[in-house]
Point group: D3
Chain length 106, copies 6
């Protein structure tokens, strides 16, 4: 996602932010897989579909099941309220899309 | 936290919301411990100190280490930006307080 | 709106949230009609077009006039600021659409 | 509330904003009383205690009962999620305070 | 932007808000050009693409260079966090569009 | 402000974020002074008093006058709405405090 902006700009601060953003999900005290789940919930309560899609892709790659992703999104729903519902619906559609891609690639 | 409001009110919808809120952190597809960490990050990016304190208490009870809590809060910082810093500072103070209580109880 | 997600998921917490969400707009100490207006203003200041559309439909069904809807949206505009303007524009377009449907059905 | 800032500043835009803010709650297509309730819910979902207190005072003056205020705050809770809970607790305390003042004045 | 809504409504409060909104970017203690840059950063951290586009157009008309616009957007990115990235990408695309229009008009 | 947290933690990502945050206000395509004003408005629309206080201190050090600061805050008020008013009041009090300190130091 970040690649595309980088082509159009060479602002040092922006480039460094992107590197910091990537590094935040590397294995550390917590595993990268767990941190992708944190990123998903943060994106959901802040209501950003592009960010939800990005973290869902990472979460699916990390091996989280549909049941686990919904359980995480339920936390986001309760914390963030009904205003999160359109983003929950969007997330469910993205999960379906990612799963059908997985199927096709087998 | 919810107890205190319940005393002052008997609105059925509010009571049900509190029960739903509690249930969201029960063991499910994800463990309750993992979901407390999700609740912490959601509270941090939405910048609510009372909510951060509540989830930090639950996270400490669940056995998450300081390093793991800071790694989760770092995700919140990167997702939510510098506007999260005062809440990160608050969280660090709360962690210190919870740890010194743990010490005192031994 | 909630129906569609329910088909794709059977997470108990999510289902219960949807029921709680529906119940919040039932007649109670305040009439359901008044609470739809509250839902509209909450949706507008939180800047969610899907939520605005949903509550506008309910408000039109409840018999609120265009003048009353605009008066409510004006409160949202003053509380939420110019950042609400794109959503106010969206709301005005939705009201026009709902009214022309009303006309067609007569 | 606005008075105090006005003493310290004579910025024309700010003064005009305050006048616009006051006018938004005057009787219009909707009654001023209904609009105070809208202002309360908007303040609650945007999580501003000072704004909640201001609108609660106006709502109490307008004659809304505790049951009606809680029913409005329940809409805010469902729309805005558990992150609204600390502000709901604050609101309940303010309502108690305003009611005991009412008692004392009789 | 405001023109289109005004056609569909004649709510006095809304009209006055639009006038106040326009006036906020007039030359004052700060130049109008500087205030457009402030409007851009406010729109970016509040994550409103329509508002970003509007202020980018004004900023380009005011003569701000791409480097200056990116430097302002970098402040928004650091303050608002990675959740601002999709809006930064949108802003970069809008800047490209505005610059190619400038080229075409010469 | 960041110093205090750094003492309590040595998380590499957090440290790097603080450095990036500081660097965002260095002279670049825009002057550091202008970027402090951007930081002030971003802090005001995101409604963070600690952040407002920090940037006001930097803005006063940069030589911005009261009239210029209020003109910037007026943009924040119009963009962010009446929900910003308590933070505007806070900002006016901080400006007064900073000016009286300036007086005392002469």
């Amino acid at each position: 996602m970040n690649e595309r902006i980088l082509e159009g700009t060479d602002h040092l601060g922006i480039k460094r932010f992107f590197r910091l953003d990537d590094a935040a999900y590397d294995d550390g005290a917590l595993s990268g897989d767990t941190k992708e789940l944190l990123g998903l919930v943060a994106s959901a309560v802040l209501r950003c579909n592009d960010c939800i899609d990005y973290h869902l892709q990472q979460c699916v790659d990390a091996g989280w099941s549909d049941e686990e992703l919904l359980d995480a999104l339920n936390v986001a729903l309760v914390v963030g309220g009904s205003i999160v519902i359109p983003h929950l619906r969007h997330a469910v559609e993205t999960i379906d899309l990612l799963r059908s891609r997985e199927q096709a690639e087998r």
